[in-house]
């Protein structure tokens, strides 16, 4: 019964856009699940929902039905600012050749006991 006209009364002059009338898609939400107390929330996936309350409920149905979690976060996907995939090289450049960034690079001074 979804889609299609169920009124059966579409006059020729009615400003109907027809059964395939475009419908605004529900916004996208990112779902984070905390699997047990003491752990952090981990990204589990995403879903569509009309609002935040329904997003939490849909997240419960889609991501926690088999005992996966004790807590859920949903975040509008539009609120997440991501790093630019094209800037990968500059952002995540390999630390190779930069040994001085690691503590093990430095020799321990003589007589320092608790370092």
């Amino acid at each position: 019964m979804t889609g299609g006209s169920t009124t059966g009364d579409d006059g020729a002059t009615a400003p109907s856009t027809g059964p395939q009338e475009a419908r605004a898609a529900w916004p996208l939400w990112e779902v984070f699940v905390r699997s047990s107390r003491g752990l952090s929330h981990v990204h589990a996936g995403s879903l569509h929902a009309p609002d935040a309350e329904m997003a939490v409920r849909n997240a419960r149905d889609l991501y926690t039905r088999r005992n996966e979690g004790v807590s859920l976060w949903v975040v509008p996907a539009s609120s997440i600012i991501t790093s630019d995939p094209d800037a990968k090289d500059a952002f995540f450049e390999s630390p190779q050749g930069k040994d001085y960034r690691h503590a093990t690079y430095y020799t321990k001074s003589e007589g320092v006991k608790h370092l």
């Binding site: 169920t6 929902a49 329904m54 849909n58 149905d61 889609l62 005992n67």
Partner: protein
Amino acid sequence: MSEASATRITPGNALRPEDIALLETRPADAVAQYALGLGDDALILAQRLGWWISRAPELEEDVALANIALDQIGHARSFLTYAGRAWDRTEDDLAYFRREPEFRSVHLVEQPNGDFARTIARQLVVALYQWELYSRLAGSTDPTLAAIAAKAVKEVDYHRDHSIQWVLRLALGTEESRRRMIAGLTLTWPYVEELFADYPLIDALGDAGVRPSSLRAPFDAAVQAVLDEADLELPAVPGAVGGGRLGRHSEHLGYILAEMQVLAREHPGASW
């Protein structure tokens, strides 16, 4: 997990149909008949809700309705397994090899799905009714009925929330969604009456069951609270003739059973 099947995982000590099948005690005939009615309600509703799988307005809603249908199948399995203990019949015997007049479900659950709003209207009534019923049945003098109800009421609590959320959104949404919600409620309301009609079996049950008429006042209060919040009015329509608990059904049940039972009857003894 040491369970053989991943789908059989039940956390904690929750009662499973498989456990009920192994019970030493057999229910009295009146208790079994009562459990049969509640099990049939859940089974037929699950069959109806299953229709929505792949047809719900959005994928997420598809999953939500399917989960509710699965919960109802779980309740049906427990009730039917327990009822069957009285007559040496399995849950499958009762689900697939009874004829229409032998079913004891109420007319509400066999009503057509209609559009999404009509299904939500039916869900609102069923969920509020089942919540009032199971939260009281959890105090039944029959320990098995009490255990089944105590487990079911937690799931029905979510069904209740799901339907209320949707009633609010449809009623307070667009002009069209509100029109459909009102139409759905109006089509559903005639079948509310039967849920609260006492029938002869109830007198034989004592405190093992819950007297349907005793649930009417709390149900009405719960409905009114939702309708107030959704700015809706109680549909002013007369009650339909019931009789499902006595095996008298509307024209819809036969079609549901034909679809639900065809495989089991075509291949008797098959397992799945």
